[in-house]
């Protein structure tokens, strides 16, 4: 009887061990989603953001995070009636997650901005664009950073 109970305890402990490594990963994912959600609320002032119309281009793999080329293009005719007002770049893992905001207008002709960003490790970056009708759209890119930007003492 005792032996069976001990074995059951042992087995349930094993099951706990097997499940344990999954939990931090799942929690981290949830936190990351929240990072963008709260950042977007901050940027839009609470307005809803729809995924789409925004394309973020980065290299899939960056040797280091000090200078990662990043290009954002928004699908827009760029006319006085229908154009992009602003594009904000958000980072999932940077200590200051709002990297930049660019303001465009109908005279831009094409809604595309390219720059180089600092990234504190592998992450998703998101661009959030506001159109002239007030709607918000977003697009993501996933970057694998081999050596993160030196944000600590170095």
């Amino acid at each position: 009887m005792m032996a069976t109970r001990a074995r059951r305890r042992f087995i349930s402990a094993l099951a706990g061990l097997a499940a344990a490594p999954l939990l931090p990963g799942r929690q981290a994912r949830g936190q990351e989603a929240d990072v963008f959600a709260s950042l977007m609320r901050q940027v839009t002032g609470g307005a809803g953001v729809a995924p789409g119309r925004v394309k973020v281009d980065t290299p899939r793999l960056a040797d280091n995070g000090h200078s990662v080329p990043l290009s954002v293009r928004v699908d827009s005719p760029m006319t006085p009636a229908d154009h992009v007002r602003s594009i904000t770049l958000l980072s999932e893992r940077n200590p200051r997650p709002v990297m930049a905001t660019f303001y465009l207008g109908p005279k831009s002709g094409r809604a595309q901005v390219t720059t180089r960003v600092r990234l504190n490790g592998s992450q998703r970056v998101r661009a959030v664009a506001q159109l002239s009708d007030g709607s918000w759209w977003s697009g993501d890119a996933e970057v694998e950073v081999t050596e993160s930007a030196c944000l600590d003492a170095s």
């Binding site: 930049a100 905001t101 660019f102 944000l151």
Partner: protein, 106 residues
């Protein structure tokens, strides 16, 4: 502050042209330390405005997430010959500006 603006040498009226600028600036994050352990204060170009014949065509608000020697590329419609003026300011209040001229042919 040194800067370099790149424009096409000439453009047709109505053509969408690419405007590029690079500014020499450390874009200090504020997260780094000197050898003695003293923190280096944050100092980034936080605002840049581009004007084309006096009218604002592009502006940027930047933070420490933009790499050192910031590079920006954007587009504009070439509607008349004239001057592009870029002005920027960093956290220490240092201002910089750079000009470039564009020739538009009919």
């Amino acid at each position: 502050m040194l800067a370099r603006v790149q424009l096409p040498p000439a453009a047709k009226r109505g053509e969408v042209i690419e405007v590029r600028i690079t500014i020499q600036h450390p874009m200090e994050t504020g997260f780094r330390y000197e050898l003695g352990g003293k923190p280096i204060p944050k100092n980034v170009i936080n605002r840049l405005v581009a004007r084309y014949n006096g009218a604002e065509i592009f502006s940027a608000e930047m933070g420490s997430g933009i790499a050192a020697n910031p590079y920006l590329s954007f587009f504009t419609v070439a509607d008349a010959s004239g001057e592009f003026l870029f002005e920027w300011v960093d956290d220490e209040g240092n201002r910089g500006e750079e000009h470039a001229t564009l020739t538009v042919v009919a």
